[in-house]
Each structure stands twice: as C-alpha cells, then as structure tokens.
C-alpha cells in the first residue's frame, strides 16, 4: 500500500513536535526514519497509526485520506520499542490477539498463530508465558503479533535497540526476509545510521521535527543536503574554499568539480584521506587504536584532519606526515559559514 504524509504538523501539550512533514512511500518499500532521540520520529509513527491527531495535514493510504479513521480501523500497526506484549496472555494468545478482535474462530486463530510462530522461528513456544522468553524471542513475538493483523503499513519503532549486536543482526535479517516474503510497506525508526543504510530502500533524516532529507541510502551518504545530515553518518573533515571556473580551491586541496562558482565546504570522510609518513606539513596529535583500524588526528595548515588507517604500531604522536585527499570522494556542501 502506498503511504503519503502531506504537510503534517503535530503538537503535544502546546509544544510543536512535528513541522511540515511530507513523506511518500511506495507500496512494498522499507524506509527508515533516522534521527537523534527526541527529534519526533516516534511521534510521526504514532500520528500515522492514528494514536495522535495531527494539527493539520493529511495522511493517505493508496490515495485515500485516512485522518478520520480511528487507530483500530487503519490497518497500520506499530511494534513499539518496549514491545508491549500483553502480560495476561501467553505467547499464542498474544499473537492471536488481533485475530480474536476480529472475531476469528479459535481453531483458525490457533492455526494462524502456529504459522506465524514458524515464520519468526519460534515453533512450539506458543504455550509459554511471556515471562519465560528471552529478549530476542520477545522481539519475535511482537513482530509476529503485528504481522497477524495483516497490516497495510508496518511501523517499527526502534525495534532492535534493546538487543545486543549479534541478535540485532539476526533480527535485521529476519525482518528483511519477512519483508521480501510479504512485501508489506514498512517504516522503521532508528537512530543507528549503519542500520538504516544497511536495510532501507530509502532513508528520511529527521532533525528537530522536520524531515531534512529523504533519499536512497547511497544518495544520502554521498550527497548530504547539509552538514547536519553529513555529520549524522559519522565524523568528517570539512575544508572551506571556493569554486572558480569549475575548480575547487583551498589551502589544503584543489580539484575539478562541476559545481557553480561560490563558496563551498569540501567534505572528506576519514576513509577518503590517505596518510604518508616521514615528512610533510602535518603532525600527528592523537591516535585512537580500535583494533584493526586506528583513527589518526593530524594538525597542520591551520586544519585538523581525522583519518582512518589500518593500524600500524610505527605511527607515533608527534610524527610529521603528509596527507593525500581522495578527491573523487569529496563532497561539496554549498555556501555554509564555518561551524
């Protein structure tokens, strides 16, 4: 099902939470809402699901406005971060709850619940109490229960944030498999940029209640709309300069570009800068050892440069070094003042 949000504004207790949200998701897509805590991601999910009324704006499913529909008639289901499994029911009753609400008979409920349990790889655990399951298993039950509604839109609110990294990867794979199998239009809220890049068709970056950029993973990473978006995907080096006649010029680096004339900042990710030791204008001032890789901070030319290298014990603080910018990976951000 296509989902569209048009000019959504939401306030909670007279405080503006969401401003002018426009979002379009094609049927069967999986998109991520990415942003720091408190930027309004969960509020947007609740608004789409009908738990919060928007001040203005429209929500459309398959071109039909659904603002007037109460939450239980929308076919939009949320899996919350805290899972919210019903403590007064066992696993099977939890999963079959949406079916029971629709008046589905007991046998069919049992059959469907067994199928769903199998789908999330929890065969035979239907009769367990939810207090008898581990974190990862609870996550799967919550997912299965949401799928039991046969949702038009599946909304996931940081579903894996309480799991450790191995389990998260398992759950991501499971989610991707299920998404491929069922093709449900899905929005996943996350604050983990890697997770978003890994699994989404498109990513919407939210900052302070606004969507600042909505693009596919590669575009977002390679052509961020501004420095805030770029920063969200990790630290970067910014070099101020100017484009004149198709050439970006600065004290540290110059290269050809197709951008128009004007002031720009060239952004280089730490992996887009190479280090050569021995001599040069830069001095190593900090080494962060991270196992296979190390982050090196250099100073020189009035700049501080962060780069990532394969760990090398010969590097020492105070060493002189030169840097080489991989200009094919440079990203030019327009006309921003220094930050």
């Amino acid at each position: 099902m296509d989902l569209q949000c048009r000019n959504i504004h939401v306030s909670l207790e007279q405080k503006k939470i969401l401003t002018d949200i426009n979002l379009e998701i094609k049927s069967g897509q999986l998109i991520s809402l990415l942003g720091p805590s408190g930027c309004g991601k969960s509020t947007l999910l609740k608004t789409i699901a009908g738990l919060l009324p928007p001040d203005q704006g429209e929500i459309l499913i398959d071109g039909k406005v659904i603002n007037h529909l109460p939450a239980h008639k929308r076919g939009t289901v949320i899996v919350f971060q805290d899972l919210r499994l019903f403590p007064n029911m066992n696993v099977e009753e939890n999963i079959a709850f949406p079916l029971k609400m629709r008046g589905v008979s007991k046998e069919i409920r049992h059959k469907k619940a067994s199928e769903l349990l199998e789908m999330v790889q929890l065969e035979g655990l239907g009769q367990r109490q939810i207090t008898q399951l581990s974190g990862g298993q609870l996550q799967r039950v919550a997912l299965a229960r949401a799928l039991a509604t046969s949702p038009q839109i599946l909304l996931l609110d940081e579903p894996f944030s309480s799991l450790d990294e191995n389990l998260r990867q398992d759950m991501r794979n499971l989610l991707l498999d299920l998404h491929k199998q069922l093709g449900i239009t899905t929005i996943m809220v996350t604050h983990d940029p890697k997770e978003a890049l890994m699994i989404s068709d498109k990513i919407a970056i939210m900052l302070n209640g606004r969507i600042v950029q909505y693009d596919d993973s590669r575009t977002l990473y390679n052509c961020p709309a501004n420095q805030a978006v770029a920063d969200y995907f990790g630290p970067a080096n910014y070099i101020e300069g100017e484009v004149r006649a198709g050439v970006f010029q600065s004290d540290a680096v110059s290269f050809r570009t197709t951008k128009k004339d004007g002031r720009y900042k060239a952004m280089f990710r730490p992996t887009a800068v190479k280090l050569s030791t021995g001599h040069g204008d830069y001095r190593i001032i900090r080494i962060d050892y991270m196992g296979e890789h190390s982050n090196i901070t250099l100073q020189g030319n009035g700049l501080q440069i962060l780069l990532t290298v394969i760990s090398d014990d010969r590097l020492k603080i105070g060493d002189q070094a030169a840097v080489e910018f991989d200009t094919t990976k440079a990203i030019l951000l327009e006309g921003e003042a220094s930050s």
């Binding site: 939450a71 239980h72 289901v77 949320i78 919350f80 019903f86 029971k100």
Partner: protein
Amino acid sequence: MNTRGIIVGKILLACFALTVLIPIVVILVWSFAARWPWPILLPHSFSLRGLQEIFGGYSGALQVLGSSIVLSLIVALLAVLIGTMTARSLVFYNFYGKKLIELGTILPIIIPSTVFAMGVHVLFIRFGLADNVVGVIIVHLICALPYTIKIMTDVTAAFGGKLEEQASVLGASPLQILKEITLPCLLPGIISSACMAYIISFSQYFLTLIIGGGNVKTFAVMMVPYLQSGDRTIASAYSLVFICSALLVFVIFEKTAKRFTKNGSNYFFV
C-alpha cells in the same frame, strides 16, 4: 541471602503471623467460654450462648449480617467504579483544578470522621438522606473513596496507557480494549480496593449510627454495644462471624473477578 538472614526472616514472619493469629484464637476460645477469669489459662466452663445469640434466630443477627454484607458490597462496587474512573482521569488527563481534586480525594483521611460527621449529618437532613440506607451508603463511600482512588491511581499509573495503545493499533475497539486489556491489567488493584472499601464500610460504626439514625442496622452497629458492655462471649462470637464473613467475601471477590477476566495469577488466595 545467607542462612542467618533466612532464619531472621522466618522468625519475623512467625512473629507477624502470631500477632494476627493469637488474638483470633483468643476470640475463638472466648466465643465458646462461659467463664474465663484471670489468671486461669483455660476457661472454667464452656457454653453455646454465643452461638445461640447469633444463629438462634431471636437476635436477628443473621438477617442484619446479610443486609450488612449487601450494603457493604454496594459500597465496594461503587467505590471501585468511582475510584477507577477518578484514577484514570487523574493519571491520563490534564485539566483545570486537577490538584484541587487530588487534594479533595484524600481529605476524608486527613479530617477525622467524628469531625465531618456533624456537617454531613446536617447536610443530609436537608437533602432527605439522613436516617436511610442511601445516606449511609454515601457516607461510607466518602470514607472508602480516598483509599480506592489512591490504590487505583497507583495501579493505573504503573499500568500506563501503553498496552491500550498497542491493542488499539492491533485492531481492538475501545470496548474490546476495556475488556481484554484494561480490566485484566487493573485487576490486582480492583480486588485490593474492593476489599479495602468493603472492610471500611463493613466496620463503620459511628457514621452508620449518626447518619442511619438507628433505622439502618448493620452488623457493626449490632456488635459494638456487646464489645462495650463487656459480655465477652457474645462480643467474641460476633467478632468471629465478622472476620469469617469478610474473608469469605474477599474470596468471592477474587473468584468472581477472575472468572470474568480469566486471569491466571492469584492475588490473595489459592
């Protein structure tokens, strides 16, 4: 916990149990004692006078017990209903005068009932609520509500609205949410506050006497004169029936509540 801690814990538990059980045993023995002068350890002689007083039919104790239980059940039901709804509005909504209402809900605990009884009495006479059952039910409610509201506010706050939100997005209508989620989750609080309200109403003597004006006879009203007059055999027999009937009602509360919600866990009794 180490063994010493466990032993200390067990001793404490035994002390608590004994402080409750010893008086009950004394009452039990007294109910059947004819004479039990101090400092003799066991009664001189036994009699069935207490039993006859209550079950003999001439005192009307059983009828009063019956109507008293019904009256207190009505109070408990109303108190739970009002308490649950008040708690919900206090926890989930912000409205003008909320703090004032919160204060109002605990006022009957802060002000002794002997103090406000007079004022309530005057008011009830004016409204035609004095000397009848409705007035007594209302005044019992005034005493019971602070406790039910407090219990239900805590339970409602702990339960939160989160499971209701979840049920809603899973396709449950408001009525279905109430039946399947809200009531089962509030059940421990509902049972506790019903028991609390019941026992407050059932043991209310002074207010029943003032507002009921002698027309409304409850078990407590019947029992207290015996306690005061010093006829220990009859007073003990009344006390025993009082305790047993209250316990029985509590068990019925829990069984009934569970039947409606099919909740698997136990709160008070097996």
